[in-house]
């Protein structure tokens, strides 16, 4: 059972990412705050007796469900429309050279020189804009997998889909982001 301090530390560690993740989805700060607060309370109400190790996955699942509830309440259907792109059978840019786009990743020293002040903020803004532009399921998979650092199985559990779908969503998200950022001349 998670102690008061363990639960507090967990919520503190996850709250900002949870807020940003929700903002990407609902595009409204107030709504995102409500959803995060609701998720925290649901977790504390029903799962505070669980071991600390189970909290991250439970919270992500609750947050995803709360976000979906919000969409249902708001009757925002454009999210569903955006999700249709997830079912596309082929990538329109299959020959996109990810290796080339990510060359900077292999040479961080070359990038570090540009990371100052405004440039850093601009890079972050560009990344956030592209993340927000991803289809919902791709964005959720990408953020759970790489930001929340869940493994494939945990991400699949949190999203309620198969591990294969998670891999597909993540891969497409990475390619989309790399392509979009390269087009903007942004090297993350």
């Amino acid at each position: 059972m998670a102690s008061d301090k363990e639960l507090s530390d967990f919520l503190k560690s996850v709250e900002k990412r949870a807020f940003k993740r929700t903002v990407y989805a609902v595009r409204d700060d107030d709504a995102a705050l409500d959803i995060v607060q609701d998720s925290m309370i649901r977790l504390a109400d029903k799962y505070a007796d669980r071991p600390p190790a189970e909290l991250p996955l439970l919270f992500q699942r609750i947050l995803s469900n709360a976000t979906m509830d919000w969409f249902r309440r708001q009757k925002v259907r454009n999210a569903v429309v955006r999700n249709f792109s997830d079912f596309e059978s082929s990538d329109p840019d299959e020959d996109f050279d990810l290796l080339e786009a990510l060359e900077a990743v292999a040479h961080p020293a070359a990038v570090e020189g540009a990371e100052h002040g405004v440039a850093r903020a601009q890079i972050l803004t560009a990344i956030e804009a592209e993340v927000a532009r991803l289809p919902d399921r791709q964005r959720e998979a990408f953020l759970l997998r790489y930001w929340e650092e869940l493994d494939v199985a945990e991400t699949a559990l949190a999203m309620g889909c198969s591990e294969g779908s998670v891999k597909t969503h993540c891969s497409r998200a990475v390619h989309s982001l790399a392509r979009a950022l390269k087009a903007k001349g942004v090297q993350p």
Binding site: L7, S8, L11, I41, E103, L177, P188
Partner: protein
């Protein structure tokens, strides 16, 4: 070894492994950037998140306190607290006993009321049916006066 990513590239699976590693590396790098951004949230947002967290923690404390409160009386019925258990059972039966006693009293009062009403009616009938000459009897008039008072 892949010269770019320093990842093992076994024959046959090398391309896939390197590709997955590349995606993962890129994903983590973007995530690190996002973390930088999330750490610099506006003050009011951070405060509202803190408030939300404290509310959630308060709920957790309440949720854990309720089972403890429920468990405390239950301890009285444990083998170690047999005497307390008897009194708890007796105390739980008392309201039932009081209810039954009250109903019995109400029933008795109701019966008395019916009896009194019937007697009044009988008396009225008897007085109505008396011949006028009965009122000339001083003894009967006295009886009626006493009954009326």
């Amino acid at each position: 070894m892949n010269p770019v990513f320093d990842l093992p590239t076994p024959p046959g699976a090398g391309g896939r492994v390197a590709h997955d590693a590349l995606e993962a590396r890129f994903g983590r790098r973007l995530a690190a950037r996002l973390t930088e951004g999330s750490e610099a949230l506006p003050h009011d947002i951070s405060e509202r998140l803190r408030f939300a967290r404290e509310q959630a923690l308060q709920r957790a404390r309440t949720a854990s306190a309720v089972p403890a409160a429920v468990a405390a009386p239950a301890a009285g019925t444990s083998p170690g607290g047999g005497g307390n258990g008897f009194w708890w059972r007796l105390a739980s039966v008392l309201p039932g006993i009081a209810l039954v006693a009250g109903l019995v009293l109400i029933e008795m009062e109701h019966d008395d009321e019916v009896t009194r009403t019937a007697a009044d009616i009988d008396a009225a009938l008897l007085s109505d049916d008396l011949p006028p000459t009965a009122y000339t009897d001083p003894g009967f008039a006295e009886y009626l006066k006493d009954s009326g008072s």
